[in-house]
């Protein structure tokens, strides 16, 4: 299974973290520090796998972002690389040629997409189209809710309650 997903920028800034195994906040920072250092220092033409504390970390760089996933020893590294690529393609499709800024400003949306893709550390949905549809459906749910919420009458109703 996938233990966690990290997105780290080339400068070492964390752009997304998702934990499927229990890690305390302290451990999380430590993991990121350790892995960030190790992965960012690797050259461009090396293999995409790093052994780490008895687990394996599969990473791939897209533009300025490193997508890292940590898996068990006997998981399939190539499969995880495909999952990463899959994720990137979905992001790309959703944001329209995605860049780091998109992920910075739509940080929660990246999470929602990831949640559709992975659940409990396993791949959930392998069809890009389906994910796009699901996300769109949820977005529209959110939008309608937002419209209601931000209408003036609603605010006044809230305030005068």
């Amino acid at each position: 299974m996938i233990h966690f997903v990290l997105l780290i920028s080339r400068q070492g800034k964390v752009r997304l973290t998702k934990w499927y195994s229990p890690y305390s906040q302290k451990e999380r920072t430590k993991v990121i520090r350790e892995l960030g250092g190790e992965i960012l220092s690797r050259g461009p033409k090396l293999c995409n796998f790093v052994d780490w504390r008895g687990l394996k970390v599969v990473y791939k760089r897209y533009a300025s972002l490193y997508f890292c996933m940590c898996i068990d020893q006997d998981d399939n590294e190539l499969e995880v690389l495909e999952i990463i690529h899959h994720f990137v393609e979905i992001l790309d499709r959703y944001f329209g040629s995605v860049c780091e800024l998109d992920l910075i400003f739509n940080f929660h949306k990246a999470y929602y997409i990831l949640d559709e893709l992975l659940l409990a550390g396993e791949l959930q949905e392998s069809s890009k189209k389906t994910i796009a549809r699901l996300i769109a459906a949820q977005d529209s749910l959110v939008e309608t809710a937002k419209e209601q919420a931000s209408s003036i009458s609603n605010i006044i109703a809230q305030a005068t309650k």
Partner: protein, 940 residues
């Protein structure tokens, strides 16, 4: 406590504002964040859910990416969760699944929220809730929500169902009893036609099977069907993973599976699937030669590929193959060796491991040569990686693969001179270890040691200090093999030794002591003339040494002169003359004089010892150079006597002693170890210890000559001699065997165990009975078949071989979960088993062990199949009945389960015969409860 005002709500900063602000960094990141956090703390108390949820979103952003604590928001998050709006829920679920953990206090309160959303008609809400459950589930949550998850497992919304399937894994982990409820439905989903659901289920089973494969053997037919039918690579990969766990457990299954796996291997275009096939074959189907050939062929393609990933994985696969099929590695030798110089450290290490896997006694020297050359030109990290793996491979199993120890010792010397070498301690251990264990190598060892010692440049490298200490020790201990002891002495006393840490310096001085004694001994006792008798030179050391000791033990007391005859092993080529001895003594005085004031006790004391003997002998050396030897009868004899004693004390060999040797010594009669030492005087006075019970490490000679020894001591430290020392000496004289002989104990400053020479023990027929017994028991010399040159004997201890075996006890993990799964799949007996098995009744683990034994039972194979089938189905029946009885869950579920059991029986087996029999048996249930359900013959 005031919540935010209307204005605050209206002008609340959104997440985007925060992000923008952070990026602009007008006031610095930390300051900005703490300001934002203050706002959030205020906003999160708002009664307005929108304000609250926005605050929560901002907080989870800061917590996610800037790692700020958000535990204070646990309760507000729950409040947001209760909002009817989907957008709020989403934010809340995200925050909760990120921040909640088992000890979050409000965890109990979330159960109802989750349950409500699990029952929601909005599939997205259900999904959110499931997701959250998968992340934060603890025992209570898992238990309380099991019914909901169970219902969702057969939801007609595929989206929900597949998510429920994935979450079930986490529920099982936390609350194994849920298996009884949900497992049947989970298995049903294996037959679902929808690939997404199938993928989910297979994913769950592949995780489950990793932990305890045996429980899932009965499902093999279903998995097999999926493997054959699957169109999706994702699913195939996971099914293969399951089979790679199951196949080793059941040979018939492996036989069945190997064909489809090979088909996949041949036909698939996807590298990930291809790799999974390869891995399945090499890990689990390695008995099938053709399959392995095919897989290795594909591995070769990987190795040839430019993609470093494939190369790395190819090497990894090769490493797995190497355990059973070494030919696969040899076939790809060039690629592997070439990868040693790859740019990628991971690939380099992987290929290094492979190279080490190829090492055998025939090629160890060539491979080591190649590797040392690589080590010379690679970066420090990898260099030490190489050296470490050479060291560990060569020393494996007591130097099993080393035939030519001379070569190995010189390799060790060479390795320690590699500039980046940091393996000093390991080299040190091996040098000493080999010196102790392998007699034939000692001359070479001394040569290598000399080579290391005389190079002043090495003293500056702190990583090498431990190697140098080993070299110093070896050259002192085995000085009789040295060509030129005088040169050794100079090396040991060279000025740059001041760079060494005191502990190692102590070893240097002690070695110098030994060398000096040796020189004096050759010079005096043998009348200054060295007879390099060729016949004795190359004697197998064991023979000559033991001969010498034997004769020595017998004759030393009566006639000291006899002893010297036998000590002709020296190969010294530089003659030791009186003159050189005088020079030597001067050198010692010069070098060690300043150390008398050393702050390190070890160094100081040893220097003092050494100078003591110099003081003692110097006058006589000077004397005898003037007069003839015969004239100096009075004092000269005494001095040479002392030198002889010292020399003999040193030339007694050290050998490895097994750790438990001490334990095997039976307590001598009357020796009370545990009582207050105050009574010691009395006890000792009472008992005249029988000498046959001696267990001291000292040679018997020291007991006999205790008097002279104590005399010697008194003389050496004449200025300090006072009453207490003489008392002590007196005591030592009487009860010498309770003392460690001082000559010995001085010499051991490294923590090497004081030891006895094993071969010596065999032919000593004096009073060291116990010791002989011990060592005879614990030392098993092992000979290897000859390869042109005979391999020298390597002394072994039994324990060394036994220990690793004893330690490898497989541990059963995850008992409760797999136990539950077994219950569902196999059923379980309820009544206490019959008397013969009663000892197993309460221990699932031991029960399982018994079960495994039966599973691996070879009978399963052929004739008994028919009987097995009958039995197993009947057992199955028994179990399901038993289970129903004890099950407390709603009747509906029971009913369903029973239906499931029946269904499964139908679909699963061609073992209809025996069915009616089983029904009969069910009437009088559990009389025959066998502990171990036998796996049905599902695939044949």
């Amino acid at each position: 406590m005031s919540g935010p005002s209307l204005m605050d709500s209206l002008f609340q900063r959104s997440l985007e504002d925060i992000i923008k602000g952070l990026r602009q960094q007008l006031i610095g990141e930390q300051a900005f964040i703490s300001k934002a956090l203050d706002e959030i703390r205020k906003e999160i108390k708002s009664t307005d859910l929108s304000t609250k949820s926005t605050a929560l979103l901002k907080l989870s952003y800061l917590s996610n990416l800037h790692f700020h604590d958000m535990s204070f928001a646990a309760f507000p998050a729950l409040e947001v969760l209760s909002s009817p709006r989907f957008s709020h829920k989403k934010i809340a679920y995200h925050a909760i699944s990120f921040s909640f953990h088992d000890s979050t206090p409000v965890l109990l309160l979330i159960t109802n929220h989750l349950r409500k959303d699990l029952n929601s008609t909005n599939e997205f809400e259900v999904s959110l809730s499931l997701q959250c459950l998968s992340r934060i589930a603890n025992v209570d949550l898992a238990r309380d929500l099991t019914p909901e998850v169970f219902t969702l497992l057969s939801s007609n919304k595929l989206y929900v169902r597949k998510r429920a399937v994935a979450v079930v894994l986490r529920v099982f982990e936390k609350y194994p009893d849920s298996v009884r409820v949900c497992f049947k439905r989970l298995v049903e989903n294996l037959e679902n036609s929808d690939p997404q659901i199938l993928s989910s289920v297979v994913g769950v089973f592949s995780e489950l099977a990793c932990k305890d494969p045996r429980s899932y053997l009965p499902l093999a037919p279903e998995f097999y069907k999926i493997l054959v039918d699957s169109k999706s690579n994702w699913i195939s990969i996971k099914v293969l993973k399951i089979f790679s766990k199951l196949a080793p457990l059941e040979p018939r299954l492996a036989k069945r599976v190997v064909e489809p796996v090979c088909d996949l291997l041949r036909n698939t275009g996807a590298k990930s699937l291809l790799f999974e096939c390869i891995r399945t074959v090499v890990t689990s189907l390695s008995e099938y030669e053709s399959a392995v050939r095919l897989a290795v062929g594909k591995v070769r393609e990987f190795l040839m590929d430019d993609d470093p990933n494939l190369k790395y994985l190819g090497l990894q696969a090769l490493r797995i193959v190497a355990e059973k099929h070494l030919w696969a590695v040899s076939e790809n030798k060039e690629v592997v060796i070439k990868s040693l110089s790859d740019a990628d450290p991971n690939i380099k290490i992987e290929s290094l491991r492979l190279v080490m896997a190829m090492v055998s006694e025939h090629n160890v020297s060539e491979i080591s040569r190649v590797l040392v050359n690589y080590a010379l030109k690679s970066d420090p990290v990898f260099c030490n990686e190489i050296l470490g793996s050479i060291l560990s491979t060569c020393s494996r199993n007591l130097y099993e693969i080393i035939v030519d120890f001379d070569w190995y010792v010189s390799l060790l010397g060479e390795m320690s001179r590699i500039p980046h070498c940091q393996m000093g301690e390991e080299i040190e251990n091996q040098l000493i270890d080999i010196g102790l264990r392998v007699k034939d190598v000692r001359p070479e060892l001394v040569r290598v040691a000399r080579y290391l010692l005389i190079d002043p440049a090495l003293l500056g490298n702190s990583f090498l200090h431990s190697v140098l200490s080993a070299a110093a020790w070896a050259s002192g201990e085995y000085v009789e093999f040295s060509r030129n002891p005088l040169e050794l002495m100079e090396a040991l006393l060279q000025p740059r030794t001041s760079l060494l840490p005191p502990s190692i310096r102590g070893i240097y001085i002690q070695s110098a002591f030994k060398v000096l004694v040796f020189c004096l001994h050759t010079c005096f006792v043998r009348g200054g003339s060295i007879v390099p008798s060729a016949s004795l030179n190359n004697l197998p050391a064991g023979v000559s040494a033991s001969a010498s000791y034997e004769s020595f033990d017998e004759f030393s007391v009566e006639n000291g002169a006899d002893v010297t005859v036998v000590h002709g092993q020296t190969r010294a080529s530089a003659p030791i003359t009186k003159e050189s001895i005088v020079n030597l003594l001067n050198l010692v005085e010069l070098a060690l004089g300043p150390l008398l004031g050393s702050h390190d006790v070890e160094v100081q004391e040893r220097a003092r010892n050494l100078l003591g003997i110099v003081d003692l002998t110097k006058p006589e050396v000077l004397n005898s150079s003037v007069q003839e030897k015969d004239d100096s009868e009075g004092k000269g004899v005494e001095t040479s006597q002392i030198i002889k004693l010292m020399h003999d004390a040193f030339s007694k060999e050290l050998g490895p002693v097994s750790l438990s040797a001490q334990g095997k010594v039976s307590l001598p009669d009357g020796l009370v170890l545990k009582e207050n030492l105050g009574d010691l005087e009395m006890i000792c006075g009472d008992i005249e210890p029988p000498s046959s019970n001696s267990f001291s490490f000292g040679s018997p000679y020291e007991e006999k000559d205790g008097l002279s020894f104590s005399n010697l001591q008194i003389k050496e430290d004449s200025e300090q001699s006072n009453e207490s020392t003489s008392l002590l000496a007196e005591h030592r004289k009487r009860h010498g065997l309770y003392y460690l002989p001082s000559g010995k104990s001085e010499l051991i400053s490294n923590d090497y165990p004081p030891a006895n020479d094993p071969t010596l023990q065999c032919d000593i027929n004096d009073n060291d009975d116990n010791l002989v017994k011990i060592t005879a028991e614990s030392l098993v010399p092992k000979r290897k078949p000859n390869h042109g040159k005979p391999r020298p004997v390597v002394v072994k201890l039994n324990e060394v071989d036994e220990k690793p075996v004893a330690m490898k006890q497989p541990e059963s993990r995850d008992g409760s979960l797999s136990g539950a799964v077994r219950d569902v799949l196999f059923g379980r007996e309820d009544i206490p088993p019959t008397s013969s098995q009663s000892n197993l009744s309460n221990k699932p683990s031991s029960k399982r062990k018994g079960k495994e034994k039966q599973h691996t039972d070879p009978h399963l194979e052929s004739k008994e199949n028919v009987i097995d089938d009958g039995n197993s189905s009947s057992r199955r029946k028994d179990r399901s009945h038993g289970k129903e009885r004890r099950h407390r869950s709603p009747r509906k579920k029971n009913f369903e389960e029973r239906k499931d059991t029946d269904q499964k029986e139908k679909e699963k087996s061609r073992r209809h015969h025996g069915r009616h029999k089983s029904r009969q048996r069910a009437e009088e249930p559990l009389k025959v409860t066998a502990q171990t359900p036998v796996i049905p013959d599902f695939l044949l």
